[in-house]
């Protein structure tokens, strides 16, 4: 296989992986920080995708403008959902395990609510639009402009989140909460404010991912669940709560899938993903990047 072919394969793997990473980061924030395994994460992605499609096709507004709109709207929805559901659950659950189990059930229900709401509002038809599909020459080969944009933006948003958590006071507070919730509260970190905000940011990221996805893939109300599953694989790969891990895990999974699809068959894609997943669980049960 030529060098160009290798480059093409790795690049297309990284592009897909970038999206995986972005979806996984949001979920990881919710699970790593609050132990909320939000099964409905992918459904909120659908909401971001439909909003972008709808605004773009109805009013001709560029999908890029919808990035901040989707983020803020889903942030607000996230904070509301946290206030209505998870805060009450946290107050009434006897211990963390019970909270995790109950949270899982609640988000499972939420999955149907969001999916049905999208179906009711926009119908079940497959939707899509044409945006930046022109090929752009990159070195010896070419990629669609929207794919490169998606890759660049998902990487940028992922790195921005990682930088936020690493270098700001807010980020320090969040990391402290991840390491030791009780210890963090003892030194004065306000969980009542930080938890809803971070849950909202997690959903906001899925809104951004949905907005980006709609630029290149067709969208339907049922498209979310596979992304949730992939995100779960990615955060297990990277290690629960590890943001760098989620980014690296997402990119790795994308590359493994692309290589696997080339050398075997696309039909074996899920087998490859789960193969990597099981391998990591056996070899490093806490994830590749867990300390």
């Amino acid at each position: 296989m030529s060098l160009t072919a290798w480059f093409e394969l790795l690049a297309s793997g990284l592009i897909t992986g970038g999206i995986y990473a972005l979806v996984a980061l949001g979920l990881n924030l919710q699970y790593g920080l609050m132990r909320i395994l939000n099964i409905a994460h992918g459904e909120f992605l659908v909401l971001g995708a439909y909003l972008t499609w709808w605004i773009h096709t109805s009013f001709g507004i560029s999908p890029l403008w919808m990035l901040p709109v989707s983020f803020l709207l889903l942030l607000a929805i996230g904070m509301l959902v946290h206030r209505l559901c998870f805060r009450r659950l946290a107050a009434t659950a006897p211990d963390l395990d019970a909270f995790e189990a109950r949270g899982l059930m609640v988000s499972f229900g939420m999955m149907f609510v969001v999916q049905s709401a999208v179906s009711l509002t926009w119908g079940a038809d497959l939707r899509g639009y044409d945006y930046l599909t022109q090929p752009v020459v990159v070195g010896p080969t070419q990629f669609a402009a929207n794919m490169l944009l998606i890759f660049g933006l998902s990487l940028a948003f992922s790195l921005a989140l990682i930088a936020l958590l690493r270098y700001t006071l807010l980020g320090k507070g969040v990391r402290a909460l991840m390491q030791s919730p009780v210890g963090a509260q003892l030194v004065g970190i306000d969980t009542r404010r930080l938890h809803p905000l971070m849950f909202g940011v997690g959903l906001g990221l899925s809104g951004i991912a949905g907005c980006l996805l709609s630029m290149t893939w067709t969208i339907s109300p049922s498209m979310g669940a596979p992304y949730t599953v992939t995100a779960l694989i990615v955060i297990t790969l990277g290690g629960f709560g590890s943001m760098i891990g989620a980014l690296a895990g997402g990119l790795l999974l994308g590359v493994v899938e692309a290589l696997g699809m080339h050398f075997t068959s696309p039909s074996l894609k899920m087998l490859l993903s789960y193969g990597v997943f099981i391998g990591v669980l056996l070899w490093r049960p806490n994830g590749l990047f867990a300390r």
């Binding site: 093409e8 090929p135 067709t218 696309p266």
Partner: protein, 420 residues
């Protein structure tokens, strides 16, 4: 008996403030009788109209889940429009008697189990008069034997499976052309266009596998060289690694046995990598309005499964326009939508001729040649024996039927222009 009922029963009949009967004067009674009579005569026409029970027609179809994309384009809109049109004319003609159509429909959530259970209930306990089929080869495959056992005729608009047809279920009729016909037509076209090499990408489910097998079978009689055969799963998000491999082999034609999201994905990614063979064929979804909307000018020259458009017949034009008007500009797809409507036309004719008798309807459907918007349809066993396999192509914003001649609405344009 409930608690409230038993209490009421224990109460004496004269208990209560207005219970004691008061004598009514004979004059007043006559007046009341006259009024009642007048009221009754006013209500009579309405009563006469309502005396015929509505025709209860049940179905389950995907409104949510992965099947919904196809079901909501090619199938359910037709059911709704048909019932509305029939009711607007005072009801369906059931052997000379007008009966309103009452649709009893459920969302099968793209789940086979939900789908089958719903039909089990509709036929077994609700005992609806007729059923309309669910969406897709898989669901029809599962339902057909059950419907057959219950004796419900099934005119399936979206079932593409030779295996299902070969089961020879007397109550099952498939409106679409079967894989051997569709793939046979495609291969005839390839041969006629002197295509020497092809690459095949196919979906690994019942639809994909049967069409793939039929395609290979048809290719056996030709000298066309197959450079690549690759399968992919439902919900695939990236086909570019495979398409790049195929591009490196420069086949004359690309044959995708694909579903709507993958049809669009394969087209977009072919444009992305600059893969532009002389003939580009993708199966389901190419004939959708969505394809033209999403791929835009790049759709020009793309071929796919299709068998009719508004130019095919006057009936087809009327149907196309009515569909667009009813669903806010949404166009029917140029393949299964038309066949679905044809199925409803056949059902309407059957009801008019033999009445609401499921066995008689079955016999009528099986033995008659039906005039429909997609052409005359006659069944041989379960198979639509009159409509040949066909190929369509996007040309200036319309999906023209380009193969075979008897269905053609336009000339095949080769080679496919560059993706725009």
């Amino acid at each position: 008996m409930s608690q409230a009922d038993s209490k009421a029963a224990r109460r004496s009949p004269t208990e209560g403030r207005f219970a004691a009967p008061r004598p009514v004067s004979p004059r007043r009674r006559r007046l009341a009788q006259a009024l009642a009579l007048a009221g009754g005569s006013l209500a009579l026409p309405a009563l006469a109209q309502k005396s015929e029970a509505p025709l209860r027609i049940g179905y389950a179809i995907a409104r949510t889940g992965p099947w919904a994309g196809g079901a909501q384009v090619s199938q359910e809109p037709n059911y709704l429009m048909w019932a509305e049109q029939q009711n607007a004319a005072g009801g369906a003609d059931v052997k000379g008697v007008k009966r309103r159509i009452e649709l009893i429909s459920f969302d099968d959530r793209s789940e086979m189990e939900t789908c089958i259970r719903t039909y089990e209930k509709l036929m077994g306990s609700d005992k609806v008069d007729l059923i309309l089929p669910p969406w897709g080869s898989n669901a029809n495959f599962a339902l057909a034997p059950l419907a057959n056992r219950h004796g419900y005729p099934m005119l399936a608009p979206t079932a593409l499976s030779r295996k299902l047809v070969d089961m020879n279920l007397p109550f099952f009729f498939s409106l679409l052309q079967q894989p051997d016909r569709m793939m046979g037509a495609l291969v005839d076209l390839l041969v006629a266009q002197d295509i020497k090499s092809i690459a095949i990408l196919y979906m690994d489910d019942l639809f994909g596998l049967e069409n793939f097998a039929a395609l290979n079978n048809a290719l056996k009689k030709t000298r066309i060289q197959v450079l690549e055969r690759k399968s992919y799963p439902l919900g695939v998000k990236d086909l570019s690694p495979v398409l790049r491999t195929i591009k490196d082999q420069s086949p004359d034609a690309f044959i995708g046995i694909t579903y709507p999201p993958d049809t669009i994905l394969a087209s977009r990614q072919s444009k992305e990598i600059g893969f532009n063979p002389r003939l580009f064929y993708a199966s389901v979804g190419t004939a959708f309005q969505l394809y033209r909307n999403v791929i835009g000018a790049g759709a020009e020259g793309v071929t796919g499964m299709g068998s009719w458009n508004a130019k095919s017949s006057a009936g087809a034009k009327a149907y196309f326009d009515a569909h667009k008007a009813k669903f806010g500009g949404k166009e029917p797809d140029r393949w299964a939508s038309g066949h679905c409507w044809a199925g409803l036309e056949i059902l309407t004719q059957a009801l008019g001729k033999v009445g609401m008798d499921r066995k008689a309807i079955r016999d009528y459907v099986a033995k008659t040649e039906h005039q429909t918007i997609v052409g005359p349809i006659r069944f041989q066993g379960s198979e639509n024996a009159t409509i040949p396999g066909s190929v369509g192509q996007w040309q200036n914003g319309e999906f023209e039927i380009v193969w075979p001649k008897q269905l053609a609405t336009g000339q095949l344009a080769m080679p496919k222009p560059e993706w725009k």
